[in-house]
Symmetry: C2
Subunit: 138 residues, 2 copies
DNA sequence: ATATTTAATGCAATGGAAGTGCATTTATTG
DNA sequence: CAATAAATGCACTTCCATTGCATTAAATAT
């Protein structure tokens, strides 16, 4: 069991107060968040700092960006030990048309997708839209 | 074999010079195009007109919008007789990381995706990224 | 401990793209 | 031809992502 500080350091991310706060914020969320979500949670902090913090987290692979089709980038912590760039680690995302929340279905890996001759698959983005468990009333 | 005019009329789209031009432009493209692509092809036309024409085509289901993860909406003609809203008609899209082109793989339908209990799937977006046939040199 | 260097943060500004209100032109219909 | 409705053009707005540069804070060397 490592502390957040240790995790950040192990990924070559220098520990700052802001980074710890943002990490904890993401860790507490069960859903993917937008930059604005983070902004609203930390009103005193500058938007740019939040933006760059997320980008740093993304580069160092403790956060992955999610394109759920809303046109707004969302972010979520990676599973510990995940390698988002590897196809076998890719999970699908669910976007609720009712509450607009987007969640990682980390248990649901993306199936092998066949592409035509001559095409090389490097990455797959799979987003399912519909009604989430909370909104479907069950 | 129906003319473009007949196709538009059958979909309740009034025929105008601009609409015919845009339709032909889309029909000649083998790849999905952005609004800017259309803008560049028709410099005399106003962007709003092009925008609204595409939106009309989309509503009337002769064009589908593609979110390939670049953050810029792309559009492509639907197959004749397709119903983009129906899950079984959904095909996957391929985005080339080299030439940045996005193409419809209309032959490749999206496989049935399992979602957890309580979730209801209404729509699926599947984008494969990698190297296209032209760029892979084969 | 202090000076030097490097990284993080804050502020201001930019740019791209989507979208809208309203006036004008064009097409349709009585 | 007059009346009506739709399409087009122009100006403007909003939202989000991104960058340059000055400032502050942290890390390292002296
Ligand atoms: Mn995820
Ligand atoms: Mn397509
Ligand atoms: Zn929901
Ligand atoms: Zn290519």
């Amino acid at each position: 069991m490592q502390t957040i500080e240790q995790l950040l350091e192990s990924k070559d991310i220098r520990v700052t107060a802001m980074r710890l706060l943002i990490y904890k914020f993401l860790a507490n969320k069960q859903i993917a968040v937008t930059l604005s979500d983070i902004e609203n949670a930390f009103e005193k902090a500058d938007r740019t700092t939040l933006y760059r913090t997320i980008k740093t987290f993304e580069e160092k692979e403790i956060v992955h960006q999610i394109d759920d089709g809303t046109g707004i980038n969302k972010y979520a912590l990676c599973e510990s030990g995940c390698h988002c760039e590897i196809e076998t680690d890719l999970h699908l995302h669910f976007h609720c048309n009712n509450c607009s929340e987007t969640i990682c279905l980390t248990e649901h890996k993306i199936p092998q997708i066949k592409v035509p001759e001559g095409f090389v698959s490097e990455n797959v983005n799979l987003v399912v839209k519909g009604i989430c468990d909370k909104c479907s009333g069950q």
